[in-house]
């Protein structure tokens, strides 16, 4: 009995620990701040986590492939600017949406082809993108904020459906679809296979180029969605929006159990990772923690979780 319990504890995925930590944090916050567990604050957390989670889901696809996408923040900024400029020029929302998604799709294709066909490491390809797409966003907008969007945009982003913010609903739908693809489709299994060992995946006949293309397109398109949600939320486009979000996305994925060496990571873990960081930010504000300390805490947390995960993996290996 005792042995099987230990066994179970060793087999629990890292998501469980992170989820436990998040819940623990909620309990502590509920006792230390009278405002934490109020309807308004819960709605705030749901809104705040949504955009970060959508971008993190996309990032996860590339991380599973043992790749990385450093350009997601800049892609979010660029597609947000395209979206906002089309809207402020008076064109219909649907057109703006399609254009924003197209930006993501094109960038994803370029990233995938450059890394798979030209053989440039994804780290470098997307690092170049991080710089270039931010530059494009600044160029297109002349460095200015784009305002004058139709009121409907802000309303869509800030309403609730049965008390759940629409932003969160969008994020949940994207999350469920992604989870389904990764978990239950052949394409999803190919991704994990390539991430574990690209060469053997190629030898058993998996079309690595195609799967890579899908992963980088998903990453960039989700980033584009995140960028447009950000514009909707603020009712304006800022060329510097979403700066640094790539690191948040990677942190959420890794804390949620994904491995930068590929082959591991889940959407649920990714969501919990994003939720943990949002909770820390929200809690720090409610408790009045110095914002500089907040950064230190987040950093220590990333290191601690990955360390825990490593121990866990070694134990699992020992048991097997």
């Amino acid at each position: 009995m005792k042995a099987s319990l230990t066994d179970l504890r060793h087999r629990l995925p890292v998501e469980t620990y992170v989820a436990g930590l998040t819940v623990l944090m909620w309990i502590v916050l509920a006792f230390s701040s009278p405002y934490f567990w109020t309807g308004g604050n819960v709605t705030n957390i749901l809104r705040q986590v949504s955009i970060a989670a959508v971008i993190a889901y996309g990032e996860l696809f590339t991380v599973i492939l043992a790749g990385i996408d450093l350009s997601v923040g800049s892609v979010a900024g660029l597609s947000g600017i395209v979206f906002a400029m089309i809207l402020s020029a008076g064109y219909p929302i649907l057109l703006a949406l399609v254009a924003g998604l197209a930006v993501g799709f094109v960038i994803g294709t370029v990233n995938a082809l450059a890394s798979d066909r030209l053989g440039i490491p994804p780290f470098i390809v997307t690092l170049a993108g991080l710089q270039a797409f931010r530059g494009l966003a600044l160029l297109m907008s002349g460095g200015m904020t784009i305002a004058g969007l139709p009121n409907a945009i802000g309303t869509i982003a800030n309403t609730t459906i049965f008390h759940i913010p629409t932003l969160f609903v969008v994020m949940a739908v994207i999350g469920v679809c992604s989870h389904f693809v990764l978990r239950y489709t052949r394409l999803g299994r190919y991704m994990y296979a390539i991430g574990s060992n690209a060469e053997s995946a190629r030898r058993v006949g998996i079309d690595v180029t195609f799967v890579t293309l899908v992963a980088y397109c998903v990453s960039a398109v989700f980033a584009a969605v995140g960028g447009m949600l950000l514009v909707a939320r603020l009712s304006m486009g800022t060329p510097t929006a979403a700066t640094g979000y790539e690191l948040q996305a990677i942190a959420a994925a890794v804390v949620g159990g994904a491995s930068l060496f590929g082959g591991r990571g889940t959407i649920i873990g990714c969501f919990i990772g994003a939720l943990l960081f949002t909770t820390i930010g929200n809690g720090a504000n409610l408790l009045g923690v110095d914002p500089f300390w907040e950064m230190v805490i987040e950093g220590l947390l990333i290191a601690a979780v990955v360390y825990l995960d490593n121990i866990q993996k070694r134990r699992q290996a020992g048991i097997a």
Partner: protein
């Protein structure tokens, strides 16, 4: 205030001497050539500085050369523009230093070559210049505190309650000055208490989350001060999301189009507005006067104004919000 008056007198005197001395001196003015060098030629703010400089050049009948690197980050670019300007021996130079250290040497060199230098907006680390004409950010912060006090008093009958403020970025001198002015001035209203302070990432979305959390934590908050436009955009969005526009007094720096919209629909109570047009306009006047012997105090305030719903459509403020509508006004008072 006193400084400004003194200056106007000095400038008028210098130009007056010019015209009194006769036609020969007046002809000198038409030969006067003043490069106006800004930090970045691509931004609206600096375009407004150029507009002001052109207006002054027209009135004075002098020639100006509008110059600058394409981006504020191109420090080396501005240094070479400055060096070329010195080599061309202009009447005077008006410059906004992109980098306080890198531009110190070239500015001192110009002064040594007998070319008066008027610094605008941002100073360089040198004492070899005529005057530094810029927004007094501390005064701006003080005005923000006064405006919050006025607004709270107008809404609740007395200037009392909890106040929070948002800093856009850690380590920026202009923002530190704004915050310092705000915090110091608020002490003059014993009823108003600062209960929270958040430092952002110059990111409207972070400002929005921070503001939401502040409003959750302090349900009785009566005022928020946001020290630049992205913080103002974020805090304004939080207030309008929570429908607290008429309850919490929000005062913010700058004039983004979003902020102006928020003033019109009552979410933002007051905007603290700088006057880049006047930096260009007065900068060229001072440059010409200095080239003819006028002496100025080392620092001149180019003015900060408070824009509220009550005065947002007044002609005096229209030009501060939209430089195309800028009209030179008579003395506005303080």
């Amino acid at each position: 205030m006193k400084n400004r008056l003194l200056l106007t007198m000095a400038a008028t005197a210098a130009i007056g001497v010019g015209s009194a001395a006769g036609a020969a001196n007046a002809a000198d003015f038409s030969k006067a050539r003043i490069p106006v060098i800004v930090k970045a030629t691509t931004s609206q703010y600096w375009a407004t500085v150029f507009d002001g400089a052109r207006a002054a050049a027209k009135v004075l009948g002098v020639k100006i050369e509008t110059q600058g690197a394409p981006a504020e980050t191109d420090v080396a670019g501005e240094v070479s523009i400055m060096e070329n300007a010195i080599a061309s021996h202009p009447t005077a130079i008006v410059i906004a230093a992109t980098n306080a250290v890198a531009l110190a040497q070239p500015i001192a060199k110009a002064t040594a070559a007998g070319i008066p230098v008027i610094m605008i907006d941002s100073a360089a680390n040198t004492t070899k210049f005529v005057t530094f004409l810029a927004t007094n950010n501390e005064t701006g912060g003080q005005k923000a505190a006064d405006e919050i006090a006025r607004c709270v008093k107008a809404r609740t009958g007395k200037a009392a309650g909890n106040v929070a403020y948002l800093t856009a970025l850690a380590g920026a001198q202009s923002l530190n000055d704004r915050d310092k002015g705000f915090v110091e001035q608020l002490k003059k209203y014993p009823g108003l208490k600062i209960v929270d302070h958040r430092v952002g990432n110059n990111d409207a979305s972070k400002a929005l989350s921070d503001s939401e959390d502040i409003l959750t934590k302090h349900p009785k908050l009566v005022g928020i001060f946001a020290d630049n436009e992205l913080e103002g955009d974020g805090a304004g969005t939080a207030l309008s999301e929570k429908k607290l526009g008429g309850k919490v007094c929000l005062v913010s720096f700058d004039t983004s189009s979003q902020e102006i919209k928020f003033v019109r629909n009552g979410v933002i109570d007051g905007l603290i507005v700088q006057n880049p047009y006047m930096m260009g306009y007065a900068g060229v006047w001072y440059a010409l006067a200095a080239a003819h012997g006028a002496v100025f105090p080392k620092f001149v305030d180019s003015g900060v104004h408070v824009v509220t719903k009550a005065n947002i459509d007044s002609p005096a403020m229209a030009g501060l919000l939209d430089p195309k509508k800028y009209k030179l006004t008579p003395f506005l008072g303080d």
